[in-house]
């Protein structure tokens, strides 16, 4: 039974992962297709977590990954309205071939090593096929216990990480009235306008405004 589900979910995951990289329809390589495949892949992975008795993580996988993160991705994709701006079919670049070959051979190497029976030999004594108490494994209570004892510090640090990420995301993405992303000519104009404005607004930037340099003269 386990075997059947493993193969089902496993092959599904691999296939959908593959579709992330190479979407099945040659004319539809827009990121949205990759994103959909990705969501499918996450569902398969969640099922595999469930096979591994990691029930909480299976739920989190769906909620956080398939739910939150992928929605964010899809949101950005839709927001940017990215069309097929890649002409990958034609551009088979040398580096790409090398990189692909490298990734493939590395994976192949790892898989061969993993399938080697010696691979798990040194730790085989520590492995358990059957869980001692399946009801106590992988549920919210046990993980919560670990999280707030042994892993309390990393848990707190994660909050710092999220804080940094928020600050970062805000500063990167916030639309600043002072910065424009318009074509060159318009940009210069606005830059000049801004200089004029700065002189009026704040006296300390006056020196800077007195030396009008156009933003684009370097290129």
């Amino acid at each position: 039974m386990e075997a059947f589900f493993f193969w089902l979910f496993g092959l599904g995951a691999v296939l959908s992962a593959f579709f992330v990289v190479f979407p099945p329809f040659p004319n539809a390589r827009a990121p949205i297709h990759s994103a959909i495949s990705m969501v499918v892949c996450f569902f398969f992975l969640a099922s595999i977590y469930a096979l591994l008795s990691a029930h909480l993580l299976a739920i989190l996988q769906v909620l956080v990954y398939a739910g939150a993160i992928m929605v964010l991705f899809i949101f950005v994709i839709m927001l940017l309205n990215i069309e097929q701006d890649e002409k990958e079919e034609i551009q088979i670049k040398f580096m790409k071939v090398v990189g692909g070959a490298l990734a493939f051979s590395t994976t192949f190497g790892i898989v061969t090593r993993l399938r080697d029976p010696d691979f798990l030999a040194p730790i085989s004594a520590q492995l358990v096929q059957e869980l001692q108490d399946p009801t106590q494994y992988g549920n919210l209570k046990e993980i919560g216990r670990l999280l707030f004892n042994r892993y309390l510090l990393p848990f707190e640090l994660t909050s710092i990480l999220l804080l940094v990420a928020i600050i970062g995301a805000v500063i990167v993405a916030k639309r600043d009235p002072r910065v424009t992303w318009l074509p060159e000519g318009v940009k210069q104009q606005t830059a000049r306008q801004r200089h004029g404005k700065t002189v009026l607004d704040s006296s300390e930037n006056a020196v800077q405004a007195e030396a009008p340099t156009s933003a684009g003269d370097h290129h």
Partner: protein, 101 residues
Amino acid sequence: MTIGLTHYLVLAAVLFGIGSLGVMVRRNAIVVFMCIELMLNAVNLTFIAFSRFRGEMNGHVIAFFVMAVAAAEAAVGLAIILNLFRTRKSLNVDEANLMRH
């Protein structure tokens, strides 16, 4: 046929490989980023598989942290991508050759 640790590890390795292949081959920043997420998921699977067959749950907690990190990365990463798109109207990583003029 019993499904052992090796099966899960190989599955994870294959997913990791597909992810890295995508990073190498695809040039759309968002797709590359998705492939990175795929790699992280493969890692999570490895953690959980080891954890399951060692009969302990440290790996689960670690996978939980990895998810949190992935979420943070998504926030920053997508913001960066958004910003770049607004400046350049393209997401092709190869086109980032402004610096080589």
